[in-house]
């Protein structure tokens, strides 16, 4: 039987994908890690992990982990993996310069972005990774300005050795990517979709269904950029219409047919772009 690194139970909301994702991450990596996590609510569950962990505030992001990695290097410790885990707000907004700098310097860190598409810890405020159209408490009519930043591609353009998108609905794909990243020296970026029943307004027994539909509709494509070469790791033969994903979530309730169509068009375009890049060196 596989050893559980996380203690049973958690302080997160029922149905939180963060707990599922963390379990997959920790059980794949084992105990020989040091965890660095900002105050993201998904990482709030990291308090349950029986591994050494260290936190700064939201704005800390990668730099604290860079310090840990530097200390290990200075001490000649080679067998310990530094795992940094931050939310989409920390990663894409308040700590973005740090993330970018860690990538540019090539700090030896495995950086996870736990993306629940808003500042969930403070009460569902919009972030740079909130999708267009989504309701949050600071976008009461839906996010009308700005699309979700394409952070995996932004990170890939830093020429780092490994970038991947992950979904808790595809655990084999998920853990394969984590294992692969663990064996790579330098800055690795793993962007995890973390469906949030509380913030996205869906029933807490639908977490995996929402996560799976995000992949099947093309909204959350699963791919990796390994040494600059992009590869789609979960091929979706026939994409489902985005409405199937949107209609499960109260945060998209205010969208009419026109807005839904706008999202469909943009997902179609993004999917086509990704298809063109499949198997090719993009950076």
């Amino acid at each position: 039987m596989q050893e559980e690194i996380r203690l049973p139970g958690h302080v997160l909301c029922p149905g939180c994908a963060g707990a599922i994702a963390e379990r997959l991450i920790f059980n794949t990596l084992g105990r020989n890690i040091i965890l660095f996590g900002g105050g993201v609510c998904a990482s709030g569950g990291a308090a349950n992990a029986t591994v050494p962990s260290f936190s700064l505030h939201f704005s800390g992001v990668g730099a604290g982990a860079a310090g840990i990695a530097a200390a290990l290097e200075a001490k000649g410790v080679k067998d310990v993996t530094v795992v940094a885990m931050n939310g989409d707000g920390a990663i894409s907004d308040i700590g973005f310069s740090k993330l970018s700098a860690c990538a540019e310097r090539g700090d030896n860190i495995m950086q996870f972005c736990m993306d629940n598409e808003a500042y969930m810890n403070t009460g569902i405020q919009r972030s740079g990774l909130t999708p267009w159209g989504a309701w949050t408490t600071t976008t009461p009519k839906g996010k009308q300005v700005g699309r979700k930043k394409d952070l995996p591609m932004i990170m890939a353009s830093h020429n780092i050795p490994y970038v991947a998108t992950l979904s808790p609905a595809y655990p084999k794909d998920f853990t394969t990517k984590v294992s692969k990243a663990a064996g790579i020296e330098g800055f690795k970026y793993l962007h995890v979709m973390v469906p949030c029943p509380t913030g996205w307004r869906f029933s807490f027994d639908k977490t995996i269904e929402v996560a799976r539909l995000a992949v099947q509709t093309g909204i959350w494509p699963l791919y990796e950029v390994d040494q600059g070469v992009l590869r789609i790791t979960q091929v979706v033969k026939e994409r489902k219409p985005v409405i199937e994903y949107l209609k499960l979530q109260g945060r998209f309730r205010q969208l009419g047919e026109k807005e839904t169509q706008t999202i469909q068009v943009s997902v179609d375009e993004a999917s086509a772009r990704l298809q063109q890049m499949d198997g090719k060196r993009i950076y």
Partner: protein, 405 residues
Amino acid sequence: MATKKLLDGNHAAAYGVKLVRAEVLGIYPITPQTELANQLADFVASGELKAKYITVESEHAAMSVCAGGSAAGARVFTASSSQGIVFMEELLWQVPGMRLPVVMAIVNRSIAFPGSLRTDHNDSLLQRDNGWIQMYCENAQEIIDACIQAYKIAEDSRVYLPTIFAYDGYVISHTAMPVEIPDQEDVDAFLPPYRHEYVYLDPKRYKPVITHEPHSEVGMEYRFQMEEAQNNARSVIEEVDREYGKMFGRSYGGPVEKYRCEDAEAVLVTMGSITGTARVVVDEMRREGKPIGLVKLRVFRPFPVEEMQEIGRNVRAIGFVDRNISHGSAGGGVGTVETARALYTLDERPVLIGFYAGLVGKDVVPGDIRYMAERTLKAAETGKAERQVEWIGLRKQAESVQVKV
């Protein structure tokens, strides 16, 4: 055999960091600290200092690197000034609370607006409330000594608090003097490798450590323990300075140095580079038979309460030369206000005058010192201060505008 080199303050600090064998450096350049950042990069590049130098993208990241590095068991260092210190402020509260013995040089520079590249002490004194130990250096020799002492103090298990050694931008950072550089083996003997008893990130000896916000039920107890550590630091600072003196032949009299205070009726209290100028003026005035003395405040945190009380018992007037401002304070800069509290419990208190001097890089010249000394002597004579707070070297026009308003 210790060697002597002509070094300015920034290079002296770099030699200090090399001698303590700092293992992780996270530094972002800012004037007037830049030569320190550059010299350390050279030491690392040449292999003279075996450290991992992280060229961070901001001061906020610099202190984040120090926090992570220190928690993971490395001896760490950073340095900054002015806006950089303000930018890292969030971390400057986290690091002492985590009881991480980070050491930082602050090359004092005024904070905008109105700011300048030149010195005053508001950047370091802004950190007076968050748990950092603070030392102020008078010259380049003291910097190298303070740097080595800072690690010894911070890493003492009775203390485990981060420590700042501060020195005035340009006046000290860019002014060269012959500096005695201690031998590596002596420093190694004085300062053993860093090993934290309680906080460490090591999968092989895992235990849960609260490094994020503790519950409100224990937060106040955290603060209490940090205050105990500040109190412990008073004797640790004395011990370390004495031990340093035995080993290297230089000590600084603990947290304050009294200069020509014997039979003094009045004393000026100074911090940093003004002290050097004040020594000359005090010598001059002593030759004229005037009973003036000088107190150099070397340690601001923990504030040397007993030492200041002892001085307060023996003089009739104290003039505190504050190279910082606390707008809207009870009267004077933070040095004056702290001193007032320290003296308050005395049965007989000396007169206390707060002098604002050298703010936003204004030069403090011997004439200014003499003026402050004369004013303090006069207060000693009459038993009262004509003005509780005085501004030194203010342009006449500004002063008259102030009066009119």
